[in-house]
Structures are given as C-alpha cells and as structure tokens.
C-alpha cells in the first residue's frame, strides 16, 4: 500500500515533468491547451487524493523520506491535518486557475514565457506545504519564489514590470534569508534540520523571540504584512491575471502556512507578548492595506492592496489564537485559529474570483485603469454578475462567506476580556476596532471597484466594442462564485472540516457544528451567539420575492425609459461622472492625513482670469519612505564608498589579502 504522501509526490513529479515538456513545446499552438489541461487534471487529482485521505482517516500523519538533496540528510515530506488543509486550498486554487487559464491563456501574447513556469509554480507551492525538514522547506520556498518571479517577468518589455520583478526578487531573497536564520535558531547547536526534531527541542525565550521576529520578516514579507508589503502591489498585478490570482489568492496562504507551521507547531508554547505583536501587526496591516486599496485607480493593484488587508485580518486572528494559547484557553484559541483558517479559505475563493474578473476585463478592453472603464455591466453581464458576488463576499456582507469568517473573528475577540495580561486587554479592543474599520472600508472600496468599472456610462470608446469572454473563464468564475455562496450559507460544514487542522496544533477544536439544528454555527452556546447563514439567505430570498410578488400583483406595471436628471442639462459627457479618485476623495480627506500624509492644494486663478483652477494632491507611501528609501540609500552610499576597491593594482590586492589573513589569525588567537 503506497502512502498518501508518496502519491502526492508522484503527482508533483508529473507537474514538474509538465513544466519541462511545456518548455519544449511552448511555442506550438496546442501548448496552451495542453499545459493548462494537464495542470487541471493533476491539480484535481491531488485535490481528490488529499480530500479522500482526510475523509477516510482524518488526523493520521503520513510521512516519507526521499534520498534526495544533501547526501547525509535526505528530503523529508509529511502530510498532517494542517498541511492537508493548505494542500486543499492550493490545489483547489490550482484546479480552478488552470480551468480559467484554458480560456485566458489563449489571449497571452508571450505564452512561451508563461507556460513552463506555471506548472512549476504550482508544484513549488505544493512542495512547501509538504516539506518536513528545513532543507526541503527552504528549497521549495525558493523554487516557488523563483517560479513566480519568472511569471512576473513574463511581460518584461514593460519598464514597470521589470522594476516590480526586481523589487520582488530582492524582497524574496531577504525573506528567505530571514527564514534560513529562523531555521538555524530552531535547529540549535546540534543542527538537526528535521521538523520532527525541532518540534521536540524547546528553544529558550530569547531564541523563541528571535525566531518569531524572523518568521514575521520571512513569512510576513511573502504574505504582505505592513511594512514588508511594498513589493506585493507591484508584483502581483504585473503577472498575467490568472497568475496574479494564484499569487494573491494562494501563494500568500502558503506564506501563512509557513508562519503557522513554525510559530504554532515547531516553536512550542508561545509567550503572551507574541500575541500582542502579531495582533498589532495584523490590525495595522488590515487598515493600511484597505486604505491604500481605496486610493487606487488600477483595478489589479486595488485587488493586490486588498489582499494585504485580508492578510492583516488573518494575522490578527492568528495573534489572538497565540494569546489564548499562551494563557491555556484552548477553546477560545481554537475559535480564533478556526476563524483564521476559514478566512484563508474564503480569501482564496474571492480573491481568485476577483482577479479572474479583472483578467476578463483586461482581455475584453485592454484596460486596467478603472477611470477608462465604466458601463461594462451592459456589455459583460455574466462577468459583472460573478464579479459582484466576489465584491459582496470580500466586503463581509451576509450571507456570503467573507462575513462568516469575520463573524467568527469577532466572536473570538469577545472571548478575550478573560485574558489576564494588561497589554492584551488594551490591545485587543483596539485591534477589534481596527478590524471593524477595515471591514467597513472594504465595503467602500468594493463599491468603488464595482461601481466605477462596471456601472455608470462608458468612459472610453473601447468599452463600446467589448463583449463577453470565452466559456472557460466564465465557468471558472462561476464555480468560485458558487463556492463563495456555499461557504457562506453552510459555514458549519467548513468549520467541522477545519477541526483536523486545529486539533493537533491547539489541543482543542470548536464544538461539532453539523449537529446544530438547521445548520447554525454556534461557537460557544446558543444563548450567547449563533449565526445561520442558510436561514438568513432564505429569509432575504423569501422577503425579496414576497415584495416583488406583491408589487407585481398590486402595483403599477408601467415603465418608461427617460433621460437621467442633470439639473436641466441633458447629454452630460461621461467624463462628468464620478471617477475612482473623486469617489475616494471624502475618505482621503478623513484618513489620508495620517495614513499617507496627504495634502491638498487648490490653485485658484484670480477673479476674472480665464485659466482653469487646479487641485494638487500630495500623497506619500509612508512605509516606503520610512523603511525602504533609507535602507536603499545606505546601501547605495556604502557601495559608492567601496567602489574604488574594484580598481586597485595587484600589489594592493595582495596587501589587502595579507591584512585580512592577519586579522583572522588575531581573532582566532584572542578568542577566549
């Protein structure tokens, strides 16, 4: 009997073989169909394998050691509850993205730069989740980063894309360095790189704190935690849209997997202040991410910034889980942890859906700038409907899935007054306020995203000529829309499915929800809080249908088309509509002062003068200017100073080498 993890590894080998094959045939016409079709089949097979493993023997661990990699260590792989959950997220995303790619890939201008790396990227993400020693983990992590970097570079003739890819490469290397150091600390003096050994060894408080900080740097930079997020809104939109969906919807989740694996699993019992750090970072990330998203007029960049917000929400829940775990409150910790994992799943659904939608808009119109779109609802009815579903879900509105996980997170926050530490008592309500603020701002952001792109009148001529895209893309988006609704109205089933990931790490799980009457979710007790997405959905449907029925039975049916009211002027130009910038202006006036140091200046001509007035808005990316520019400046300064070392004579080089040798020997001699 071959073990499940071996089956999975064979699947991944097949994906890698597809990548090689794609490299060979990528310039042929049939290559697109072949690669995405194969990736679709393999991802679906992996998904089925993991799901059946979970269903038949949930909680059972399946491990294998391959004689690969370094000769004396080998490469270990392991499948447990946590990795099974993340494998489902990865492969579900991979399956649907490949389905979308079958259609979207046909419009690709340079398929030979995308096709070989796409299956490799999928395989890399799978390998990270399966890895069971530091060597395999880091190798897969770098492989995943490089494959996605190659995909970001696929349209490399665009200067902006090259810059995005460069910043991404620098940040990815920096993140891997942090991870390498973290694993070095975990391995201890004995240098055991297997996760099983790290799990039993308990690092001291100082080392544990350093590992947490390094994980926040390493995994946090990949996930997009503020202030390490700067690369994300550049790189995610630069890739082809289905790869953007994978990077935003799935790869950030792999980073979260890495964080959970180390901090919750390998690091042992957490200290209470680790919860404070993660909570605060999560809350700040959520608010700043969505504020940046609100200021965007590029649809794909808006979505990338909104990913940062959702990562913040997930990290805030994880921080709460850490705080509860440190204080031996396992049931509350299980609630917070489940909320985080549920949001991981939900975000992978709706963010992929929204990026697919942005991709179809891009194919149909060639535009990512919302201020040149508008009125697409008349031209692309199916795309606009599924995009609307995605917007409603991501805005945390009932009965869709985003609300269910947000609701769980709020319930977890309400458990926290029992926490004994004062630091947590002050931080938790503040972070709760930040999460509430980011949820409200997310709704505003997606009113803008949908309203400016799909509603109103067309702002450019290209929109008038667009039409609906191919069936593959529409099918992929429809599947995701259905998932968004299902996870929203049947949250109890999802929560029960998450228990096998929660139980080994937290030591507890949420109560079984499937047994609740009418499929409600009840985190603690029914008298305290309960939510039934299914009934809310049914009630809204019934009352809307009742209202529609009564209106159509008893009220007037007459309907006439007329021109819209324009204060007596008709045929106002479409440019007179609200734009993305003007829509966000009130919110910029409220929050822009502290978030972006925004300043507005109006240049008003003298009375009677004929030149137009101008408004000038001055906005700053505070994280970029505070952290990145000084560091880049310091590196520039140092390299400039050291540059002259490049042009020395051979005698001077020999002197330098000799001096270095002397210093080394002195250090050795003086070392105690």
């Amino acid at each position: 009997m071959i073990s499940t993890v071996a089956v999975l590894l064979w699947g991944l080998a097949a994906l890698l073989a597809t990548a090689v094959l794609a490299g060979a045939v990528s310039r042929r016409a049939f290559a697109t169909r072949l690669v995405y079709g194969t990736a679709l089949v393999i991802s679906a097979a992996l998904l089925v394998t993991v799901a059946s493993h979970l269903a038949s023997n949930s909680g059972e661990v399946s491990a294998i050691t391959l004689p690969l990699g370094l000769p004396w260590t080998g490469a270990r792989f392991r499948l447990d509850g946590l990795s099974a959950f993340f494998l489902i997220v990865v492969n579900l995303g991979g399956t649907i993205t490949s389905l979308y790619g079958l259609g979207y890939g046909q419009h690709e201008s340079a398929p030979h730069r995308v096709l070989p790396f796409y299956p490799a990227f999928l395989a890399g993400m799978n390998l990270v989740v399966l890895a069971n020693d530091a060597f395999a983990f880091l190798l897969s992590w770098e492989f995943m980063s490089l494959a996605s970097w190659a995909l970001v570079m696929s349209h490399h003739r665009d200067e902006a894309n090259r810059r995005a890819a460069y910043i991404y490469l620098v940040m990815a290397s920096f993140g891997t360095l942090a991870l390498l150091l973290a694993f070095g600390l975990l391995a201890g003096p004995a240098g055991t790189y297997a996760f099983d050994a790290m799990r039993t060894a308990q690092p001291g408080p100082l080392a544990a704190g350093a590992v947490l900080a390094l994980m926040l740097l390493g995994a946090g930079s990949k996930a997009g935690l503020v202030p390490l997020h700067a690369w994300l809104p550049l790189a995610h939109p630069a890739a082809p849209s289905h790869v953007s969906a994978l990077m935003s919807g799935i790869m950030t989740k792999v980073a979260i997997y890495g964080f959970i694996r180390v901090v919750f699993d390998l690091l042992g019992a957490p200290a209470w202040w680790s919860g404070v750090v993660v909570l605060l970072l999560g809350g700040i990330t959520a608010v700043l991410g969505i504020l940046h998203a609100l200021m965007e007029k590029d649809l794909k960049r808006l979505l990338a910034y909104s990913t940062i917000e959702n990562i913040g929400v997930i990290f805030a829940s994880l921080g709460l889980a850490l705080a509860f775990k440190a204080n031996a409150m396992p049931s509350a910790a299980a609630l917070a942890f489940t909320a985080a994992l549920f949001h991981v799943l939900n975000h992978s659904f709706f963010k992929s859906l929204l990026f697919f939608g942005a991709g179809t808009v891009l194919t149909a119109t060639g535009e990512r700038d919302m201020e040149k779109l508008g009125g697409l609802i008349h031209r692309m009815p199916v795309t606009s409907f599924v995009f609307l579903v995605g917007c409603v879900s991501i805005s945390a509105l009932p009965p869709f899935n985003g609300f269910a996980s947000e609701w769980l997170a709020f319930q977890a926050i309400l458990q926290s007054p029992e926490l004994p530490q004062w630091g947590l008592k002050v931080i938790v309500p503040a972070v709760g306020g930040m999460l509430a603020l980011s949820a409200a701002l997310a709704a505003a952001c997606f009113v803008k995203a949908f309203g400016i792109t799909f509603l109103g009148r067309a702002r450019s001529a290209v929109v008038e000529r667009t039409h609906e895209v191919d069936r593959w893309s529409l099918a992929a988006m429809a599947v995701l829309a259905v998932f968004c609704l299902l996870a929203g109205i049947l949250p109890g089933l999802v929560i029960d499915g998450l228990s096998s990931a929660t139980l080994p790490l937290i030591g507890d799980r949420m109560p079984v929800q499937a047994a609740q009457p009418w499929l409600s979710i009840v985190p603690i007790a029914e008298s305290r809080s309960s939510y039934n997405g299914l009934l809310v959905f049914v009630f809204i449907t019934i009352s809307a249908s009742l209202a529609a029925f009564f209106i159509h039975r008893f009220a007037s049916h007459a309907l006439r088309r007329g021109i819209a009211w324009g204060c007596g002027f008709d045929q106002a130009a479409p440019a007179a509509q609200y734009t993305a910038a003007s829509f966000a202006q009130p919110i910029r006036r409220v929050f822009g002062g502290f978030a972006f140091r925004a300043r507005e200046a109006v240049d008003m001509p003298a009375p009677g003068a004929l030149e137009p007035a101008h408004i000038k808005v001055d906005m700053h990316d505070v994280a970029w200017e505070t952290f990145y520019q000084p560091i880049a400046g310091a590196i520039d300064f140092a390299t400039e100073r050291l540059n002259y070392l490049q042009f020395l004579t051979i005698r001077r080089y020999l002197t330098l080498v000799f001096l270095y040798l002397v210093i080394l020997l002195l250090v050795l001699a003086l070392w105690p």
């Binding site: 305290r528 009630f539 809204i540 209106i551």
Partner: protein, 318 residues
Amino acid sequence: MAVIFQLAVQGAQMLLVLLLAPLLIGFVRKVKARLLRRQGPSLIQPYRDLIRLMRKEVVLAENASWLFRVTPYLIFAATWVAAALVPTFAAGLQFSWTADLIVIVALLGSARFFQALAGMDVGTSFGGIGASREVMIASLAEPAMLLIVFSLALVAGATQLSTVAAFMGSPEVGLRVSLGMSAIALVMVAIAENARIPVDNPATHLELTMVHEAMILEYSGRHLAMIELATFLKLVLYVSLISCVFLPWGLAHAGAGPKALALGAVAYLVKLAVLAILLAVFETAVAKMRVFRVPDFLGAALMLALLGTLLLFVSRSL
C-alpha cells in the same frame, strides 16, 4: 401549539414593524411641523405617499441596468429581515438564533452596499456624490456600531439580542459608565445611519447638501416606494434597538402569556412615541453640518464606543 404561538408572535412583530414604519415617520414629521408652528401633513400621509408611488409608472434612466431594478427589492428585504430580528414588544423571538446583533449590523451594511451601487449605476454625478459620501459616513458609523455591539456583548455575555435585552431588563445591570458611553454613541450612529439632521437632511433636494437623497434621485414609482419603505423600516429598527437595549421596561420575555404581550405592545408604542418626539425636538433644535464636519461627529461616536469597550476590558480584572 407553543411553536405556532411563537411563530405567530414572530409574524406579528414582522408585520407590526412594516405597518408601523410609515406611521412613525408621519408622527416625527407632524411633531416637527408643530414645533415650527405649522399644521403639517396628516399622520397617515406617508401611507398615502407610498400608495401613490406604487400606482405611478416607473421612469427608468436610459443607462439603468438590471442591478438598478433589482436593488429596491434587495434593500427592502435586507432591512426587513434585520428589523424582524430586533425585539419590539417581546424578546426571545422564534428566529432570534438565526442572527445576532453583528449580523443585524451587517445586513444593514448589505442594504447600504447595494444602495450605493444603484446610485452609481445611472452614471450621473448626483449618484456618485451620494454614494461616495454615504460610504464615507458608513466607514465611520459601522465600526462605531460594532464597538457598541462589543460593549453590549461584554456586559451581557452574549451578542444574541434577545439575551442582551433580557439581561438589560434584569436588576444585575446596575449603572455603568461604559453603557452610558455606548448609549450616547448608539444615538449618534442612529442619527447618521438614518440620514437625519445634523448629518443629512431627509427633506432637502439641494444638490450640494444631500447624501441619501442623491443616491435615490433617479428612482421613481414602485421602486422608490420600496426604498422609502426600507428607509422608514430602518428608523423603526434603530428606535426599537435603542428602546429594547437601553429602555427595556415592559418588554415581554420569552414564553410570556397574552397579557404580558399586550402590556409589552403598549409599552413599545409609548417608547416609540417618546423617542420620536425627542428626535423631532433634536432635529428642530440643531442645524445641519457641513459634510466634512460629519467625520468629526462620527469620530466622536467611534471614540466613545471604543472607550466604553476598553473600560469593560480593563475593568474585568478589577
């Protein structure tokens, strides 16, 4: 039998809020008119308005999409479901477990989401101005409301509105600073959410000052009737919410007999009338503020709610 009775109570509440909503608006308008020494329209004028609107034809803007035509029903449904989950004269409703206070807030958020989208659908600047200001107001009012919910939930140990109402009616509540802060914040949020003076003026059609009215400017006929009814319902919802949480006297408890229910109904009507008079007096006494002063007003509500929650967190260990 008991279940049928419970269902009847639930159904009665749903119908009650629906039927009472226009009357409450008519009453507020009447009181405001009397305060200005005008005669004012009759109490049942809102009903007449609704019926007249339903009989009229719909004039749809040329660019309006299917979303514009579906939205009135969605807004009405979401608001009605939310209003049906707030106890009016009896707590312990049959379906109170389907949704707690957080869900009620979020349902109103859904209604607003679609309303703002509908405002942008026609493609005029009025819809845009309304939608953009509405989401700005909501981006502060919604977190304030959620923090108020947190405070109530921490005091009562539940987010379930029936449990909260029952707890607030019991003697163990006592006098708490944080509840006072929440009450003030809730009133401020309610004023903003219902587009009342000083945040918005429900009677204006002056372009530069309107928020809510700008979003629904293109609606007419039966569509407008649905939206107006939803607006009325929202006022009833907030007044019921304030009265069941902060004025819980006379509220019939779960499983109460007909006598207690009748008493609860009378008490509810009295509370509605008192709060409506207070609203009318307040609206007559203050002036509408500039749009960019609204964030200060709502920021104060947000800070009050946050302080209330913080106090509760901190005082838990004392």
